[in-house]
């Protein structure tokens, strides 16, 4: 008797079996109670099965690919650690870019894991549920590989040991933190536009390309490797972000204005967070990849422009803030680096003034703005520092209620005037750095009146260790806050010049290349 052997399933069929027909209409509880968050944002979905899976990856294939990538990554991390790879980076200033990454970005990977796990539970359609759950696993892996990779630097350098606590408390880190908290506390569709689309699709190249090519240019093989390990995942995340937008727009014309408003909001929120990356590119990399302005022109103006041309057929226009964001490309990195330098006593990274050649590079890259507005300020600081009078601004700044960045940005079209905006709500005043941050507040004031603004929290007395007495004579609030932050004064903060990091790196590298 001939055996009838069934043909092995193709990838497409296998995928269909693993992602379709797994759902059922609940009978003990109404569907609205099982999926309580799918309707309140106003997004109308008529047919969840119209969801086109952007990538057809089944779990078994997923584990296999990820497992192989992990093996490679950990082999390289081990080799990097054993060969003292950290001494091969251009100079120890570079390591501050990694501090910024572990303090500001890696915790967002973890929050992305939680966010996608949450929406993966809340969507009523099985297609997006599976895609979101897979991304949730990816994001957890990214957080983990980054922590493992960067932990090697923690053995030798300051500014790494307390990153998780810093992320939740320190003033400049409340910028990325509040960005993600805003997204996490929105509904599932807004979360997908915020993180899946605006962040992962529109802006991700401006985050990962600068950090990873920055690492490559500065000979940090370990960071390059976790970047590569995440890259194929990022490609999937980008297609998921775009698919979500298209799905919502195709399901109902009423969805268009809601999605447009979210795109407007999250594009702006994202560019504000990316000002940290702008600064990293122009100031923290000893060997620069390209200027922030050049990166913005390629990834936002050209690529973003093409994307929004493509979305025009759905009735979507480019984000409202697009022109203002483009105008800021000449100023963003200089204004923010100046701010980190101002408050260099309260940062868990070192700051410094660029050297003469570096200032010339900035002049060449920013012919419209650097010499006119920023060079005089920077040269003055550099001269004062030489005289032993390094500028440390010790008075706390006014913050934007929405993006939580100090009001450091200037008026569009006038780089000599700080941009002030305000709103009155329920008898209180609220202040903003821009028209766009004000508009976000005005649309949902109940949400942002709860902003945990680090400066106000310090003045309310919430950032001192238990037992601190702010009324005691000679009380030094900055020192008390630094202690609460868990920063070691004089080791984690202050100027790079004269820092322990600088001295140790020089000594250790010297030992590797010279006879004692």
């Amino acid at each position: 008797m001939d055996m009838q052997v069934k043909k092995k399933l193709g990838l497409k069929e296998r995928y269909a079996h693993m992602t379709r027909g797994l759902d059922w209409e609940t009978s003990y509880q109404p569907m609205d109670k099982v999926f309580p968050y799918v309707k309140y944002e106003g997004i109308k979905i008529h047919d969840w099965d119209k969801w086109e899976d952007p990538f057809r990856l089944t779990m078994d294939a997923y584990w296999k690919y990820q497992g192989e990538k992990e093996k490679k990554l950990y082999a390289i991390i081990d080799a990097f650690a054993q060969n003292n790879g950290h001494l091969g980076v251009t100079d120890a200033r570079y390591i501050n870019a990694l501090k910024l990454f572990i303090q500001g970005v890696s915790p967002l990977e973890y929050m992305a894991h939680r966010g996608f796990a949450h929406v993966g539970r809340q969507f009523a359609g099985i297609g997006p549920r599976v895609a979101c759950q897979m991304q949730a696993v990816d994001e957890l892996r990214h957080a983990q590989t980054q922590i493992h990779t960067i932990s090697n630097y923690n053995k030798y350098y300051n500014g790494f040991h307390n990153w998780r606590h810093w992320h939740d408390n320190v003033w400049y880190l409340s910028v990325p933190k509040s960005f993600f908290d805003d997204a996490m506390t929105a509904g599932p569709f807004e979360f997908m536009v915020a993180i899946g689309f605006s962040f992962e699709y529109v802006l991700t190249n401006l985050l990962f390309v600068p950090f990873m090519s920055g690492a490559a240019y500065n000979s940090d093989m370990s960071t390059v490797t976790f970047g590569f390990s995440a890259q194929s995942d990022e490609a999937r995340h980008m297609t998921l972000g775009l698919e979500v937008i298209k799905f919502m727009l195709e399901q109902d014309p009423d969805n268009v204005p809601i999605v447009q408003r979210w795109i407007d909001k999250w594009f702006w929120r994202g560019t504000r967070v990316l000002s940290l990356v702008a600064t990293m590119m122009d100031y923290m990399l000893p060997k620069r990849v390209m200027s922030w302005k050049e990166a913005w022109e390629i990834y936002a103006e050209q690529n973003g422009g093409a994307l929004f041309n493509d979305l025009a057929r759905y009735g979507i226009r480019p984000p409202k803030a697009f022109a203002d964001a483009c105008e800021a490309k000449d100023h963003l990195s200089h204004q923010l680096w100046g701010t980190l330098y101002n408050y260099g006593a309260a940062t868990a990274i070192h700051t410094w003034m660029p050297g003469t050649e570096e200032m010339d590079w900035l002049s060449a890259k920013y012919p419209e703005s650097f010499d006119k507005y920023y060079r005089p300020r920077f040269e003055f600081w550099a001269e004062e520092a030489k005289k032993g009078n390094r500028f440390y601004n010790k008075t706390l700044p006014m913050l934007c209620t929405t993006c939580q960045i100090p009001l450091l940005f200037t008026e569009p079209g006038d780089p000599t005037k700080i941009c002030y905006r305000e709103s009155d709500y329920n008898g209180d005043k609220y202040h903003f750095c821009s028209d766009h941050c004000k508009e976000i507040f005005d649309h949902e004031p109940e949400k942002y009146v709860q902003s945990w603004l680090p400066v106000h929290q310090i003045y309310q007395g919430h950032c001192f260790k238990p037992g601190t007495d702010p009324t005691a004579e000679g009380f030094d609030p900055l020192a008390a806050v630094i202690e609460y932050y868990g920063m070691n004064f004089g080791r984690d903060n202050l100027d790079f010049e004269g820092s322990e990091d600088q001295k140790n790196f020089e000594t250790w590298r010297g030992e590797a290349t010279r006879n004692a």
Binding site: L396, K429, E444, W452, H456, Y459
Partner: protein, 119 residues
């Protein structure tokens, strides 16, 4: 209810006046001097005379700048929420109409920062 939410959504603002131990917040910016990267936030008693702000509060914050000692406070132009405003130096913040989280700015005619760059 303005916010999109699944049920009633009402929370106390985090920065209510009563959370600041008797002080109110005053934001101060110095025009044309962006070496100070952003305006400042001060927790001050509403009973503090405005003169004390000029003589006791601002110097510690601004005197790093070579222009600060050159300021003629009689000629300074003041703005409150961006509109021209005239404080009485001998009256308190409260008597000058300054409320919690008000923002004031001052311009010092003739002083425009390091090498005239508004730094």
């Amino acid at each position: 209810m303005v916010v999109a939410a699944v049920k009633e959504y009402k929370f106390e603002p985090l920065d209510r006046l009563e959370n600041f131990h008797g002080n109110q917040l005053l934001y101060v910016g110095w025009e044309d001097h962006l070496m100070f990267c952003a305006p400042f936030c001060f927790p001050l008693s509403p009973q503090m005379p405005f003169r004390a702000v000029l003589e006791q509060v601002l110097p510690g914050t601004y005197d790093y700048h070579p222009d600060f000692s050159k300021i003629d406070w009689g000629k300074v132009e003041w703005f409150k929420s961006g509109k021209p405003w005239r404080p009485d130096h001998d009256r308190t913040l409260d008597e000058n109409g300054l409320k919690h989280k008000d923002v004031i700015r001052f311009r010092t005619p003739g002083l425009t920062g390091i090498k005239g760059s508004c730094s």
